[in-house]
Symmetry: D2
Subunit: 184 residues, 4 copies
């Protein structure tokens, strides 16, 4: 039976939304966008309750998930209190302007949140492309392991995101779907 | 000359405020409380601009600084962009209901934020009290190193916070003041 | 079919070994002890290759896994290079003398290692016991989420480890076994 | 008076050594190389005891400092026990083959170690070069904040390290020296 996968994300300027769409494409997932006030609807909370897998996405602002994402995360305390999301599969992704830009700080947090919620986490599972010949069009050229990273230059429009990072997001979505299928 | 130290914090239910007051007492610092909407006033931003040392404080909710603190942190991007807080001294503290409760996740973030802002960080600098005879009234009984930790049980009122953790906060404030005095 | 679970750990003075034995008891796992030179035998590497789930254990020394554990971790680069441990289930535990003692630093690393190896991570999945009435004999009294924590006072013998932390280790072992059984 | 700065590092294949030399050049620091057995001499421990500032350097192997660096770190427990390195200034740097490669994991650890030792930490303090026009020859093109990052492709010789990362290391050394001079 097809597993239900939900990607819940915040995007400030549209770049992280492109990443979310790429992950959702790979995972055949439903998308939930956290509003600029850090909120989602009751119907969207119900979708999360029913999901087999939940993927968190957020830009990295000032070294961490955006406040809007954190407001959503704080609101998951209800699900934490009853542990109703326990044993679900989780994953995460983030985007920032720099190659590093403290993205691992954000990703470690997405993982910690998932663990408080009683989850199981699936990482990227893709080898890095890091030889001298490596290109920004390669899969996992950024060399992530915990989840999917995207780097969109500070002056890049949403149409100028390195293709390799979008392809990485699709591949991560596929991996999440495969892992969800393995988990009874 | 007396250095200007500012403690900027969010508190959800008053416990972290007690910790903030204890740090401020030790450091002879000015207190700025982030509102329940994640905001501070223009006059308070000006105080931060003029500070020699800034101490961040927040509860740990769902494994990270509260969204209100993060909204403040996101708003420091203006100070980041011009690096106008560069070379200031920074420190941080956090409170949660469990002995651990992923407090280190929050503290690592407060540090990362300070580093993006171009700062210098001063840790707790107190040996842990962790023998069999150790008590919750001891200094650094929680065994922190990066900053000051406080553990207030989930059903404890603001008058029932372990004294050792409050004393630790005062001692950390003193250390921040001494380190600020050392930094020309 | 019974899944093969292996607990691979280093213990400096026997405390972490007690924790490893408790996890192994809960998970019905095989134990591999990393030597004081940071090594395991070829036969033990083969056991890891064949495992469905691998649990990492180490004391926290100076804020991180012991060097002996890290020497083992560095030697897993062979498994990383061929990704032959990809898709296995992973978990982790650590012990130190303080309530905190930067245990989360170690646990974040055990997770990062598992992610580089292409794994899936299962956290503790146990609510914290953190009310005023909480005792060191309670399950998850330390309030961990990423994996299992143990706190053995600096002057405690291996027979004086808080029972709640050992019980937590057993419960975590059981959770790992259940999650491994769910993962085809 | 000139402050005494010591860079203590491990290098597996010479790349991190180049980074160490660049930091030392910027800081006018003495270099101590940790052996392939994870050791330094008694005379070198004495140099660290006398230093005003200590800079830690290590490659990132399997998501963390090398075991040789960790063996050195474990041996600093003597300095921890007496807190004889308390109030010194600390910094750190790391190198790996990928743009990310979990370098932040290593850097967070170098910081945690410094905090256990009672230190004050100075981060990179350099804005990232992350526009579309950014080059690997730029200062802080990797977008670090906690310390200095270097990325040397997996098949790059020690003479093929991106110049911008070496220049970043020199600039970080200069910042450490300036900060040490500010700290009485």
């Amino acid at each position: 039976m097809q597993k239900k996968i939900v990607v819940v994300f915040h995007s400030g300027y549209g770049h992280t939304k492109k990443q979310a769409e790429a992950v959702a494409k790979g995972a055949q997932a439903t998308l939930i966008e956290i509003s600029q006030e850090g909120e989602i609807t009751e119907a969207e909370w119900a979708l999360l309750d029913e999901a087999d897998a939940i993927v968190f996405g957020t830009p990295t602002y000032m070294g961490m998930a955006s406040w809007q994402f954190k407001k959503f995360a704080d609101a998951t305390s209800k699900a934490w209190f009853t542990q109703k999301w326990k044993d679900k599969l989780f994953g995460g992704f983030t985007n920032s302007a720099s190659f590093n830009g403290d993205k691992q700080s954000t990703m470690n947090y997405l993982f910690t949140l998932a663990m408080q919620l009683g989850g199981v986490w699936v990482g990227l599972g893709l080898m890095p492309s890091n030889s001298k010949a490596a290109q920004r069009t390669d899969i996992n050229n950024l060399g992530a392991s915990i989840g999917a990273y995207m780097q969109s230059p500070s002056d890049a429009s949403v149409d100028e995101i390195p293709q390799g990072d979008l392809d990485t997001a699709v591949a991560y979505g596929e991996r999440i779907a495969k892992t969800a299928a393995r988990l009874s």
